[in-house]
Symmetry: D2
Subunit: 438 residues, 4 copies
């Protein structure tokens, strides 16, 4: 959950600086083409210019993964800074269908709380980066992630012919820019626009699924999040006094339709459905957490997250799965999901083990079919009921008035046999204890 | 989560029936003494009388485990029905310290949602039952649990010299009482007071930690809980518009002090602290769930639960544990906790494996020390911050401005070596794919 | 590992007794048809007669699953005892392909030692029993398993319209035959041939994969197996002084060809290959174990087993799998295999969780392709080498003289980052220790 | 399993070279003291000299961990090469008691086959290295391990005030010595004795528990080990024709006495007992394996190992544990052991998670008491029988003639209730299938 892509956008470059850099780059002998995962922010803008200084031809790639951003301004800025080409790619639909849906099927939670919003976005963004590098015949890809994040181990490995340039891990770069001040000086010198609005005293990373806040004043884990921090969800204290009641229909563990019981609104396509749930959850203040988590590199880190739609879907899927899946299958699947969450968090989405686990979990979702009714209210999701054509729930069997498929006396046999082992154990314990007392 | 002990209490018996039964029991040759786990409700009252009919001397035992009940009325009723002795034992403190605390340390959740309120109470109640049986030199213990619940396999096994009588599993009993009507007829015939207030259309099981609602109209998993059902928590829609902010201090993973930041109230003893958290959580509507769970006997069952204090403690402990415990230790402990929850749910508290798991989890809690600040509001618990003298969180290491104990270039080595395996895999995959395409 | 089907065969019945029973059975009003899993031994012969006494029409079914037996004699005996029809079904090939192969893929070991020879045969035998019951339109199936074994929970459940009759669990039967003597008396009275050869002082259960010895003098876990006990393997002390060297080729984790390097013999079809490995392993005394295992019912049981071919395949598959499968996939698969072994042992082959686990394991076997060379000698299997077109083993990378895909300095980064967490831990430990010392 | 310490010893240095180096070192300004884990072989001899060249004062430390070696010659050599002090420390007893015993308790196997001989020795050797560094007030420790091994992540971390120098990971060193030839040249130039006996075409690493062979001609995983390779075990083809029968007594899962039934020999102290088992197992050719394993760095590696005593103890402990430990405790312990093996292999002995796992496993061993009888013969260990005062094995319960604590009819109840879930599943499956067919 490192802020790889800052959403802040600076004003345009002056033409003076453009000329300067163009001259510079034509004079240098090109080292080849690098595709840079560009955010429009100060860091990757400096990296763009620095890469050109090093002699690369830079292609800028900016993923639209649902963050709020002026993409056209970013395009112009990248071109102004000397990018020979700019790709702005909308990967939102792919993000929902290929990355968020498997996480919903898994009930993926990292360390019992984090819904993996940033970790799921990374392999999606990287996947398109690889695609562009192949299209461009680039020999290099570059990104602005630091060593502290590190959560992208596997993402660029399917590009065997391509090398990764990570300036924040290169001594030549990070020794030149030991702090923010040096970066600002470099920006001024090279005509890179510096944000005029004062920076928030924390960093953010946003996508369609979530936004994270960390670092700065949040680094002290005792400090409470300031009230104005949240951007995706309403303060539950100010949220509506009446709930929204939704019905979410699942097939193979994936939501296929949401209906708002109040106004009859429905959404069926993956992306629209997800955006709609973000709206409803955001309106009612659902999905805020404040946690300390363990990073892959081994240190603990404090993060505050908002995951509105993801929180609703976590609860809804948990409910329909428990309703339709066999108990023992679910127990095995639960173990696989823990593994899945850890792999995704650590950046191993594109690994053989993560592929294996996704396939197994996917196989388990075949019977997860049905509809969950829930209420969204004041920061909370309440399950109200559920139904399914595939449920293993048998109302007659459950009933206390009607005899089921077994006789109550069967329970005696069941208990007697389950007790055999325990009786032997207690029998031996009492012997051992007596002996020790003698 | 079967209603072993109904909280409903009927009016006193008429003296006529008392005489009748006393005559009856003196005439029969005694089969020996049975200690009956008595609830004061219709079922165990009928069982009490039926056991006497069978020729047992009955000692009634009623555990005060925090349920709302007129214990003195229950005592009189049991004596009136012919119990030769009545024990009313307050096990609340033991329940909190010996059963709830280990569950808090484990972050115990059955099937991702159920905090095990009923399952934890059973071994506590049974433990005292065994103690009384030993004190009374009884040859038998009896209880009113049906076969459907079954969640008490291990509880009575430390009583090797004592036999269990479970009428609801004895054909002689359950064939005589196939339905509620037969039980009522029997009650009338034997002067057993029948509840005059109309029964709720569901059954309940209450203790200090939680209350469950199930069966009846709730058996249809689609039916929403009626608004008036809840008894331990306020409707979040009607709960206060200002939160209570609490600080909970933990030692060895167990809460040792709670402070209300608003009014400065504090609680330190286990039982008082737990009762106080029940009050605060109840006032803000915290702790309601509606789930379908898998019973030990293999069928799915729908239950609605309220667990006010338990819900606050679950969130608070999760937070302080994540803050203080090593990542890898926590991962291992997480696996043990899943096992713990399953064992407790299935009634194996008093088994060697559950003892083993409790000891291991207990060992893991040694560094779980510190204070969590949280807000309780409108059905939700929000973590605000935490501090600890034992935290593995290192603010300097986390900081993005200061270099930590490693160079950013180390990340390159870390990634390169983590990638070795993946690169080999992708190299081979591309070979295999090419071959398959040929 | 209970002797459900004894291989001992008695002489033919006298005609006198046949007539007697036929008269008897025509007079009784039939309760319907029962298909009896018949072994030809004393127990199931008595059960056959007893079932007829109870008024059933009995169809006898004898599975040929590779045990040494005179099947024609068994057929005649069953007919003589009054079976209205006898099925003798060769399920050997199905046993190897559908049951043993998945166990080989899983490296299935119950409690680290038992290769599951009996447990795998049961669902295979039961599967055909269900098929015959459907073909015959039978309302009942019956078997001679006792309660102690119990390892067949799931096998007959796919027959919803059919009821199971298990005489050894019916009081009417087991109270009539409390010991062997009563069974013998019954046999004499009803003209059931009693074995003339003296019984071994232990019981056996044999199939193509293994033979088990237990009970009788083996019940004392301290008693050593008598030298003459073994029937499937040669005494290693008397086995040949030169090894057989074999090459076993695998595809998708399943052996597809075995070649004897010594004489060039090859086998390719599943059944022939397995029989051949049984011969080679048996000749060299491979596959004997003496263990105490935990039964599903909760008691410990001592068994001596011979599993010749299974032991070779266990070692060979382990080797080729480790050679071709990704490390992390293998770790996950290892957890699934532990579950698989437990499920198979406990009789849950035909359960949703076992199906799920088999599918997941099967998926993991896709790259398990290659050839293992091994030596079979004096009770032992020695792996000599292996090769594979799908191996992840990279000789160049391994070599100590050639630089691989990473710089040795990368190791420093890898170690530094892996150490971060541990350093923090040790730093804190020393602080805590100092404090405690003060 | 990298050859950190080669057992090969060269002749003594000429006095000429000593003088040369002494002069050299007195002239340089000392960078401080480094304690070098010295093996006496070519690599660490060159490192010793190189470290002095870099300006360090070198203290040589050679662990006697049971390898065959002329320790006095090594001492003289180190002094001759300029070490200011030489420690030769016998850590054998500590190795057995503190490192091998916990592995025996765990039944530790890495990837189902490797008994962890090298991985267990490393933390033992490192532990003493840290101790010496503290005694000497050294600022540095150094070792000759390469990046490929890497299996010592945690070993030196309890030395916070001390820095690790690993020349094989320092570009300054490994770029100077890209191959063996450069190392030889350096040795000649600096008077370092070069082994006169021809080197084996593989590398070895030996300690009391095991010896590994790898690299060189063994790098091709298809190549069979040459017959003369093995040094700790006799060729099973040439081993005695009569077995040794041993009784091994365990307490808390640790062997406390071994008795040879043949000649009555006994051993009771940990070290003597282990050495004796090495002798017996070695004589009968027990403990050879040839495997491909997954290294921590992510590549596969082929190794041939001999672990004579360890193999006997693995089988013996497995047997007594299965005999005495509760089934469910054992299942949980099995999961912890898998984790333990992985942690030890990856070099995390001195980590919080490994400490935690060792404590939990240790706790599980309390009832593992008793005596196992076994036969050692022709490369194989055969369990013959076992007895224990703490066994959960109940001969009466097991017996087929005597009724145990339960009625056979109980089995019906047990099966019926276990079947409930499966019946519901099959009922639903048939419905779903029918629907799909329509």
């Amino acid at each position: 959950s490192k802020t790889a892509f800052s959403p802040k956008l600076p004003p345009l470059l002056s033409s003076h600086h453009q000329v300067h850099r163009l001259v510079h780059s034509t004079m240098a002998q090109s080292k080849g083409t690098v595709v840079l995962a560009y955010s429009g922010g100060l860091d990757t803008s400096c990296i763009l210019v620095w890469l050109k200084e090093q002699g690369y031809d830079v292609v800028a790639y900016l993923a639209n993964i649902g963050q709020k951003e002026d993409f056209e301004a970013a395009r112009k800025k990248a071109l102004a800074l000397g990018a020979k080409k700019v790709y702005i790619e909308d990967v939102s639909r792919e993000f929902v269908e290929k990355f968020i849906w498997p996480a919903v099927q898994a009930n993926a939670l990292y360390e019992d709380r984090y819904l993996l919003g940033t970790a799921l976005a990374r392999p999606c963004i990287a996947h398109k980066l690889v695609e562009i590098a192949q299209r461009e015949g680039a020999q290099f890809v570059a990104h602005g992630a630091t060593g502290k994040g590190l959560q992208g181990v596997s993402h660029l490995l399917s590009l065997p012919s391509c090398q990764v340039v990570a300036p924040w891990r290169l001594p030549a770069f990070y020794q030149r820019f030991p702090g923010r001040r040096e970066l600002m000086d470099y920006a001024k010198k090279h005509g890179i626009p510096v944000p005029v609005t004062p920076q928030t005293p924390w960093s953010m990373d946003e996508n369609l699924m979530h936004i994270s806040y960390e670092a700065g004043i949040l680094e002290n884990p005792k400090n409470q999040a300031p009230p104005g921090l949240y951007t995706k969800t309403c303060d539950p204290a100010k949220s509506p006094d009446t709930p929204d009641v939704l019905e979410i229909k699942f097939e193979r563990g994936v939501p296929v339709k949401v209906t708002n019981i109040g106004d009859g609104a429905t959404r069926s396509s993956a992306l629209e459905l997800f955006v709609y749930l973000n709206d409803i959850a955001g309106k009612h203040g659902v999905g805020r957490i404040d946690i300390v988590e363990n990073r892959f590199v081994g240190m603990k880190s404090r993060g505050i997250y908002e995951t509105p739609a993801g929180t609703i879907l976590y609860h809804a899927h948990l409910d329909i799965e428990a309703f339709t899946m066999d108990r023992e299958v679910r127990k095995i699947k639960q173990g696989l999901s823990l593994k899945f969450s850890e792999l995704v968090y650590n950046g191993f989405w594109h690994s053989p083990e993560c592929e294996f686990v996704r396939e197994c979990i996917g196989r388990s979702q075949e019977p997860v079919v049905g509809t969950v009714r829930l209420s969204v209210f004041k920061g909370q999701v309440y399950i109200l009921g559920r139904e399914s054509p595939r449920s293993l729930y048998n109302e007659e069997l459950v009933s206390m008035n009607v005899q089921g498929d077994y006789e109550p006396a069967d329970a005696t046999g069941f208990i007697n046999i389950n007790s055999l082992r325990l009786k032997e154990y207690h029998r031996l314990q009492s012997k051992v204890t007596v002996k020790q007392d003698e």
